[in-house]
Symmetry: C2
Subunit: 359 residues, 2 copies
């Protein structure tokens, strides 16, 4: 979806990056900085985009760049559990339906530091725990708060704010949490760059996250960081009232496309009466200075009458991830709203053709 | 050390890379490939450089790109241990002195899959184990073979061949091991790109390594891969007899600089009589078609009379990593031979000034 925007920008003005063969050869980007592998240009544009959008507090925060937010999710879990020095693995929970990778990330290395404990709403143990909070949520687009009551102060939270951008949801206030994770892939669409960043309040936690990143990959690609800086710089310039080049505000463009897609999707759903999709309350968006309709990056489709939704869709050549993968029921699926225009049109066309009598 | 070469090349011809803002936005580089996030251009140049240099067999190997070889070291350990499905953690060993990160990588996540078991030469248990083999070795530059006898076929090996390039050692035959790891940082000097690659024989192991890379970072920076492809392409072209541009053979240049530095270093050591450095047997190098003197990337300095070498050097403002960090004695240090010219000259100047009577 984003490719069309970037293609047009690329044709209008020179926003490509050129990297000489002898540039950025060192492990270090800024040896004096806390995150010594973070390119100063990227740090600057990260701060600027959050200030312009108003979606996160950046002052007095440790900014740590990662190879995608995936690496930072693991780094954050590691940092929080390791610093406790607890004899048993720390429980990690997330309210269902939850991003399916959290449980896999916690379990695949069989780490003695972490234990996947499933749905946060059912968590009732007395020990320390980490609650993963994705807001807006993947897969269902809801705005999330911690759901485990922070009993005796033993709860720790990681806020995965990958989708807290104005095209997906109303920006109601700057997020101000202990650990906040963002990723270029969901902000601008540049998934191939594998650039994520963490905003961290506590120094010890930030240091342990750095330790994780150094041991697991000795930092993050400089080339990707330089391009991410250029992408964010272009987004930031596109939001200015006096622009150096004629370009549509990136977030207005993206919100426009998504809002239209959601309208078309809701029309199809209303017509074929086989599915339902969540409805979201509207809120005032401080960035757009108006009320906006949330337009999640995924639709969390529910099939009526308990039909296995992924199976039904597969018959119509629609690939979607079953609700079961997110700890939910098989009558749900997650389908992407972010594909290319052709892909999305085909998705709607095939969805329109579904009649439950056939299914 | 390599920067001077790349700077000169960059001035002579256009070997920079330009990445349009809408390029390589997807997670995928080649959805039909086993390693679906590996850029085809990089794969091609990796195969070509190994064929030209003759340091590794690439035919019928799974090629997996990683965020530096660090990520691949962990991925390989994970893959080998996970596939065993053994009730206890698998012992990981390396002959002392060994790269200090191996033990940290094994222990920091407290993985139930792996257990650091120290010096491979002292390993005498009966269970399955993984032996890490770095050849030429970091820190001491020796050529390494497995040292644990492969009792009852329970031994698995990971060959870290980061330094198996003609500037560092004679290329005596193409390596043909189960898992071989390489990294751009040691081949060309581009450490900031965080590009490593694995050549893997076994499909199950390769699949598990892929699983590790997908869960830990959903692949590897496309920008870095594209630049790595350009760097390797330039190296490959520099090795041809008919070159498209006038440029010194990269490996001849690098070997020339390193050989000169080693000569100067040995002169200093011979004069001040405080230190000794390992002597290496000469071998016929199939790449250079002549006998070459090994020129490791590090010097493994030994201080005479049991003096703490890192402490002594610190008094003379020389930073070097103590042998203790590598599982060895404090009379040893590892010092880099790869710094900028000015840094290396200063290192020699300060080293010359050391008199043990002062120390």
């Amino acid at each position: 979806m984003y490719e069309a925007y970037w293609k047009e920008i690329g044709e209008k003005c020179d926003v490509s990056i050129t990297i000489p063969i002898n540039q950025s050869m060192s492990y270090f980007a800024n040896s004096k900085s806390f995150c010594w592998f973070l390119e100063p240009k990227l740090e600057e544009q990260i701060k600027r985009v959050h200030t312009i959008v108003g979606n996160a507090v950046v002052e007095d925060r440790y900014i740590i760049v990662g190879t995608g937010s995936s690496q930072l999710i693991l780094a954050a879990m590691y940092a929080l559990s390791d610093r406790l020095n607890h004899p048993n693995p720390i429980d990690v929970v997330a309210a269902t339906p939850a991003y399916s990778s959290y449980s896999e990330m916690v379990t695949f290395l069989q780490s003695g530091l972490l234990k996947w404990s499933g749905d946060a709403r059912r968590y009732d143990k007395d020990g320390p725990y980490i609650e993963m909070i994705t807001s807006p949520n993947n897969p269902d687009g809801t705005i999330r708060e911690p759901v485990v009551s922070n009993h005796k102060g033993k709860g720790m939270t990681v806020h995965d704010l990958a989708y807290y951008w104005p095209q997906y949801t109303s920006i109601t206030s700057p997020a101000d949490q202990e650990i906040m994770l963002f990723t270029l892939s969901k902000c601008s669409g540049h998934a191939g760059s594998r650039i994520g960043w963490a905003l961290v309040k506590d120094e010890t936690t930030a240091k342990k996250m750095m330790n994780f990143l150094v041991l697991s990959s000795i930092g993050v690609s400089k080339e990707s960081q330089l391009r991410a800086a250029k992408v964010l710089e272009t987004i930031n310039l596109s939001c200015q009232s006096d622009k150096p080049f004629e370009v549509e505000n990136f977030f207005e463009y993206s919100y426009g496309v998504l809002a239209q897609r959601w309208n078309s999707l809701r029309d199809v759903i209303a017509k074929n009466k086989v599915f339902s999709a969540p409805k979201y309350p509207i809120h005032y968006c401080n960035f757009f200075k108006k009320f906006t309709h949330p337009c999640p990056a995924f639709v969390w489709l529910k099939c009526k009458n308990g039909v296995d939704c992924a199976n039904l869709l597969r018959e119509y050549k629609i690939l979607a991830r079953s609700g079961a993968r997110f700890g939910s029921e098989a009558e749900y699926v997650r389908a992407s709203m972010l594909g290319l225009d052709e892909e999305f049109d085909l998705f709607l066309e095939r969805l329109s053709a579904i009649d439950l009598l056939d299914g």
